[in-house]
């Protein structure tokens, strides 16, 4: 592995309570993240990607509505120990957010405050965690805007978000997230709302920044093209559970879990357009209701390798394969053979 261990998540589970019913949004999620590493979290809407990332930041609602179990350990930037994120008191957690672990959101249009200038927003974030004079913070903001590739950064400080394009806004958002040099950056679908050429630029930017700062990135997406581009490791989630975890190349070469296979088949591919005529493949059905999960494997009603009497009876565990991958499927040994 690349560098030191930055984040260790074990048996993370999140359940929401609404009108008496309990919905397990995330259960049994475990992973480790090392310095300089990029982990892609992939899955359909409602598979628990965003909830997982919000749980890591402790941004979910409080106890009665929402329960978070398991353990999240984050390396302390200043000290040498690991912080127990889920047990930290809220004031200390505020010092961790943005400073040790930061987040870039999906919608650059709405995640900047519309009534404040870019400069004010960045300098305020800087001064939240790093005590410095207003003038110094402004210089730092200029440096950050330059770092994320915004032309004429000093003029841009007085611009309001609505005066910038979507790509520029996402760059400004990234500059804010990076302002305190977090060791872990969570990017929640940062390119989904952007058009394709800008997407590529933002991905390049994130890669370059990661090389420069050595931060680890958790990249949440449902775009497998982006995953192939940026990730070292991929974690496929379905119905709040990790169903497959592997390095990016083996996963793309030989997906073991039928859900991953379905996801890969649903990617539109120009090189196959002529040969495989007909409609684009789509996995049939929908994500199950987390309040009433199906018996057995959560994916069995939609699975093309469904075995009656097994998949709908026995819930699969997350198995580790010989080459260090993890799969949650009863039939994966048959697929390898």
């Amino acid at each position: 592995m690349a560098g030191e261990l930055l984040l260790e998540v074990e048996n993370l589970a999140v359940s929401f309570r609404s009108r008496g019913a309990v919905a397990d949004a995330v259960s049994d999620v475990s992973f480790r993240l090392h310095q300089g590493e990029t982990l892609a979290m992939v899955g359909e809407s409602g598979s628990g990607k965003s909830v997982t990332s919000l749980a890591l930041m402790r941004l979910l609602p409080d106890a009665p509505q929402c329960q978070v179990r398991g353990s999240v350990k984050l390396r302390d930037k200043t000290g040498s120990g690991m912080l127990d994120v889920l047990a930290l008191p809220e004031p200390q957690m505020q010092a961790v957010r943005g400073n040790n672990i930061a987040m870039v959101f999906q919608e650059p249009m709405t995640s900047l405050n519309p009534v404040k200038t870019i400069g004010a927003q960045i300098t305020e974030t800087i001064r939240l965690h790093r005590p410095m004079l207003a003038r110094a913070a402004e210089d730092e903001a200029v440096r950050l805007l330059d770092l994320v590739g915004i032309p004429a950064p000093r003029q841009r400080l007085t611009a309001y978000p609505h005066q910038l394009s979507g790509g520029m806004r996402q760059r400004a958002m990234i500059a804010m997230a990076l302002s305190c040099e977090p060791s872990v950056l969570i990017a929640d679908e940062p390119t989904t709302a952007l058009d394709v050429t800008i997407q590529a630029q933002i991905l390049d930017l994130l890669k370059r920044l990661q090389e420069q700062t050595g931060m680890a990135v958790i990249f949440i997406t449902h775009n497998l093209g982006v995953v192939a581009e940026i990730a070292d490791r991929v974690m496929v989630m379905y119905s709040g559970r990790v169903v497959e975890q592997a390095d990016v190349v083996p996963l793309f070469q030989q997906p073991l879990m039928p859900y991953t296979r379905g996801l890969l088949r649903s990617v539109p591919r120009l090189d196959l357009a002529g040969r495989r005529a007909g409609a684009l493949y789509a996995i049939p059905g929908n994500v199950p209701d987390p309040r009433r999960p199906p018996p057995g494997c959560a994916f069995h009603p939609r699975c093309d390798s469904f075995a009656d009497g097994r998949c709908n009876v026995e819930a699969p565990r997350l198995d580790s394969t010989a080459d260090g991958r993890q799969v949650r499927c009863l039939r994966w040994p048959e697929f390898v053979a």
Binding site: P91, F105, H129
Partner: protein, 308 residues
């Protein structure tokens, strides 16, 4: 035909640089659309000008005229306006009406403005806390607001004024105490909507405290309705002060206010009508001007209202 596209930028040898220059130009658009919309609103402009004249007149005027508001000229009682040395006439004790209106304007405008500031402070605080935290805290606060709102404010004010020694400060506080509820409701609704917006979550994810999120991120987004409510609150406070002073529970003579000048005037309504008409005219002018100003600001600050 298609060449005309290229003709429009003949010297474009450096497209990148030109793009950057254009980007820089876009970054500085005029941000005075709200101001322009406000200026188009005639009544609001008139209101703003009248308010400016009233404020300037009240604060500078007394230095420019030769009479003191408490100077009693017993030989010149009930002098009608435009008849002698006293431009707007004198009252039952021979005091100069213009001087008294100016000094009364100071009191009425100051009470109105201060009461507005205090009521805005309370209203924003209560509304922001209720809107941001919601749940039991929010429900309790807003039901309390509803409960206070149930009292007719004029009776509440009179009941309280009967118990407390009247004075400029206490009347201001009492008026503020009966005027903050509307603001609290407006702010609560705004904050409740804004709290779920992405930038609030983003600020939290960057380590901002609740206090900072509410007052640095959310409240600035609600500034338009708050400004409108503030303007209308000044009008309401001036009117309330006049009611209470007219009924004798407010500003006590000899300190003049537009309200207590009306109180003295009612006995002489037939013999010296200007004693009632002049303060009444100024109250009406001030209150309607603030109301028009508030309407104008609402239209100017809320682009969705443009068609109205």
């Amino acid at each position: 035909m298609s060449s005309s596209i290229f003709d429009s930028s003949p010297g474009d040898s450096n497209p990148g640089g030109d793009f950057a220059a254009r980007e820089a130009a876009i970054a500085l658009p005029p941000r005075n659309t709200a101001l322009r919309r406000f200026c188009r609103h005639r009544l609001a402009m008139a209101g703003a000008i009248i308010i400016a004249i009233l404020v300037l007149g009240s604060y500078l005027g007394p230095y420019l005229i030769p009479y003191d508001d408490t100077f009693i000229d017993i030989m010149q009682r009930f002098a009608p306006p435009f008849s002698g040395a006293h431009i707007l006439g004198t009252d039952e004790l021979g005091r100069d009406m213009l001087a008294r209106l100016m000094m009364g304007g100071r009191i009425s405008l100051a009470v109105g403005f201060t009461a507005m500031v205090i009521s805005m402070g309370i209203g924003i605080l209560v509304g922001a806390i209720a809107g941001y935290y919601g749940g039991i805290v929010g429900a309790a606060l807003m039901r309390f607001v509803d409960a206070v709102l149930c009292f007719p404010s004029i009776f509440l004010l009179l009941a309280l004024a009967a118990l407390i020694e009247p004075g400029v400060a206490s009347i201001t506080l009492l008026i503020a105490a009966t005027a903050w509820m509307d603001v609290a409701r407006i702010v609560e609704g705004q904050i409740r909507g804004l709290r779920e917006r992405d930038f609030a979550v983003a600020a939290e994810a960057l380590g901002a405290s609740d206090l900072r999120i509410v007052f640095r991120e959310l409240v600035p987004n609600a500034v338009a309705p708050i400004v409108v409510a503030a303007t209308l609150n000044v009008a309401k406070a001036i009117l309330l002060e006049s009611y209470v002073s007219y009924l004798g529970y407010g500003i006590q003579p000899p300190t003049p206010s537009w309200g207590n000048m009306l109180n003295n005037a009612q006995i002489y309504l037939t013999s010296a009508p200007w004693l009632a008409i002049l303060p009444g005219l100024f109250i009406t002018l001030a209150v309607t001007s603030f109301n028009f100003l508030g309407d104008g600001l609402r239209d100017a600050l809320d682009p969705r209202m443009e068609n109205h």
